[in-house]
């Protein structure tokens, strides 16, 4: 779709949930509706189908609420304040092994770093795809490579990351001894994590820009703004809700990923700086995030302290929950200023 054609799907789809009966004549329609609704008159197959939908729908609700409630209960049971403010440490009993302060910091650092890479890149690619898209061949290739990124398993990114960051040319980004590059650091993990957030950001930025009708662009051109100025001053502010949504979804993916963290962050539970340089040394060093902490503390991991795993999972789930709420708010705000209605 070119930039200036108005998008085909300014659908009225979201705003009217699904009242089947036409508006007006409430009493009559209610009567008619109930007659049509009484599934007693339907064929058996239809009734079975409906029953199936109900059973699965209600079952789904029960299962998911059970999962969330269970995690909440377990998390609240095992979460103590000192878990949040102490670093993990080696020890023989649960009381000696500390909390998960370092993994929490790790998660936050990871999100900030990965988004610092993914967000500008995603914004550029999304804007280019929606507003420029020439030469067409490059646009096609870009579309399919972004789609490829979206479908690539994160373990493949992690493997590629080890390949990339163990090369001597990128020795700066991690620890190295005697010319052998360790290849595991915050830098390495962030670079690869940004790849899993990138497709989400691109898709949302693009969708947001394409939902803006062409006449908005034309109005901006008419007052003498150039294309890039139009994009920066008019289109991107108008598309902000989708941009924010994309960024939030990306953050969600980054928070939740474990494979890349385990392979590329070194999975040392504590943050271990590579050198003594204050910030840089830390980022060149290894560490952990909440996800890898949960993984290590699950019965299949090395530490095996399920209670701490539950507590950390609870904190992680809270983060995801907050992000979901934030996405909801962003989407709702976007809907309020939808074009063409």
């Amino acid at each position: 779709m070119t930039a200036t054609t108005p998008p085909a799907d300014l659908t009225p789809s979201h705003d009217s949930p699904t009242p089947l009966s036409p508006p007006g004549a409430p009493a009559a329609s209610a009567q008619r509706r109930s007659a049509r609704d009484s599934s007693a008159s339907w064929r058996l197959t239809d009734r079975i189908g409906l029953a199936f939908a109900w059973i699965l729908g209600v079952g789904f609700l029960i299962v998911t609420s059970a999962i969330v409630l269970f995690l909440m209960v377990q998390g609240l049971r095992y979460l103590k304040l000192d878990l949040l403010i102490t670093s993990p440490s080696a020890g023989f009993s649960e009381s000696e092994t500390g909390g998960f302060l370092d993994p929490m910091i790790g998660t936050v650092v990871m999100v900030l770093m990965a988004m610092a890479i993914a967000f500008p890149l995603g914004l550029c690619v999304g804007v280019w795809l929606s507003e420029y898209g020439r030469p067409t061949a490059l646009a096609r290739v870009t579309e399919s490579s972004i789609e490829m990124l979206a479908g690539t398993p994160s373990i493949v990114f992690a493997l590629f990351g080890t390949l990339l960051f163990q090369s001597p040319a990128l020795a700066f980004f991690s620890q190295s001894t005697d010319g052998i590059v360790y290849g595991r650091s915050f830098f390495a993990a962030a670079a690869m994590l940004s790849l899993i957030a990138l497709p989400l950001i691109v898709a949302n930025v693009r969708e947001g820009l394409q939902a803006i009708p062409g006449h908005v662009r034309e109005a901006s051109y008419a007052v003498g703004k150039t294309k890039i100025a139009t994009t920066r001053r008019v289109l991107l502010p108008a598309a902000r809700p989708s941009v924010v949504t994309g960024a939030m979804l990306g953050v969600g993916r980054i928070i939740g990923d474990t494979a890349i963290i385990i392979l590329l962050l070194g999975a040392t539970l504590k943050i271990v700086p590579a050198t003594d340089v204050p910030l840089l040394g830390t980022l060149q060093g290894t560490g952990s995030t909440l996800t890898s902490f949960v993984y290590q503390n699950a019965p299949t991991g090395e530490a095996n302290q399920p209670e701490k795993a539950y507590a950390a999972a609870f904190v992680l789930l809270l983060m995801v929950l907050l992000l979901n709420v934030a996405v909801d708010v962003a989407v709702r705000r976007g809907r309020k200023m939808a074009w063409g209605s």
């Binding site: 729908g57 969330v68 590629f160």
Partner: protein, 334 residues
């Protein structure tokens, strides 16, 4: 240049910066594309020695994969020819089984749930269900893995697997709850919400008039929605399925935690015990041997596994695209 911009009285400087901006953006895009293509190429190249030494037998079966992995890993330490012999069928079969069963289960449930959400659920229920679906779709896989290891696996190990079953296969493999079944169940829980979310969006965008038309002809609500709504939303069904399959195939952590991590291919001939046997999908196998990347032949083998995974995800997105083509003319966009 856009004709509108050209005809306007843009200052030369403005035009200049405009062109520069386009060029810069294009350069960034080209960089990203180049990076992606380079990544794909490198993964395949790194894995090539393993394929080259084994030929098509790489994909076949034969011997114990765990023992082969060990031999490959240790062969780097000795002053001898590195060993490359690798028969990946158990992990490929594991991937196919886990992904296929989970996607099948979640397709069926997601279809009914999404129809329910869009058309039949009472308002209050819909208001709860939708955010819950989205939340469940975004729960990190390690949390699902934790739940699996602490709840599902012990449950299967203690209540589903009987001593008779254990004894009947004890000379081949030990059953302890880490199984295909637990992997499939939890994976279904993970991908079904994802699918449902896409399906719901697709069903929502079915033109209301079409549904109303069918209802006006006196066709009941279920049949109308099944025949018109679901059929119109087919591209969305394909898109959701492809997305979910990709996610299921690439699922690492949860499967590594729950499936047992034994390079064993569950045998359908075993009857129901089949579901209780442990397995190891490709992605989990990569994670579990990630420590062994230091050994060059092992590293090639691991990259070969990764390139199989990468190739399947490429084929998957192609297949999804191809499946959508004939449906595009009717139906909704997805």
């Amino acid at each position: 240049m856009d004709p509108l911009v050209q005809s306007s009285q843009a200052t030369p400087r403005g035009l200049h910066s405009d062109r520069r901006a386009e060029f810069l953006l294009g350069a960034v895009v080209a960089g990203v594309v180049g990076f992606v293509l380079a990544m794909i190429a490198f993964v395949f190249l790194e894995g090539w020695p393993s394929f080259a030494h084994n030929g098509f037998a790489w994909f076949g079966s034969g011997g114990s994969i765990d023992r082969q992995t060990e031999a490959i890993f240790t062969s780097a330490n000795l002053k001898q020819e590195p060993i490359y012999t690798f028969r990946a069928w158990p992990i490929i079969w594991g991937t196919i089984l886990v992904t296929g069963l989970a996607v099948l289960l979640s397709f069926l449930s997601a279809l009914f749930v999404s129809v329910f959400v869009v058309e039949f659920a009472p308002d209050w229920m819909r208001r709860i269900l939708e955010p819950v679906i989205r939340l469940l779709a975004s729960v990190p896989s390690v949390i699902m893995g934790l739940l699996g290891v602490l709840i599902v696996v012990p449950f299967i190990g203690q209540h589903v697997i009987s001593d008779d079953m254990r004894r009947s296969v004890s000379f081949i493999v030990s059953l302890n709850g880490y199984s295909l079944l637990s992997g499939v169940l939890i994976l279904t829980l993970m991908v079904a919400p994802l699918m449902t979310a896409v399906f719901v969006d697709g069903l929502r965008s079915v033109p209301r008039g079409w549904i109303e038309g069918s209802l006006g002809l006196g066709i009941n609500r279920w049949r109308t929605f099944w025949k018109i709504g679901v059929r119109t939303a087919r591209p969305a069904l394909v898109a959701g399925t492809v997305l979910a399959t990709a996610r299921a195939m690439g699922e690492v952590i949860m499967l590594a935690m729950v499936c047992g991590g034994v390079g064993f291919s569950p045998n359908p001939a075993d009857g129901l015990i089949f579901f209780l046997e442990p397995t190891k999908p490709i992605a989990a196998a990569i994670l579990q041997s990630a420590e062994e990347l230091t050994s060059p032949p092992m590293r090639d083998t691991i990259f070969a596994m990764a390139s199989v995974l990468l190739f399947s995800s490429l084929v998957l997105s192609l297949a999804g695209w191809a499946a959508k083509q004939p449906m595009k003319r009717y139906g909704v966009r997805a």
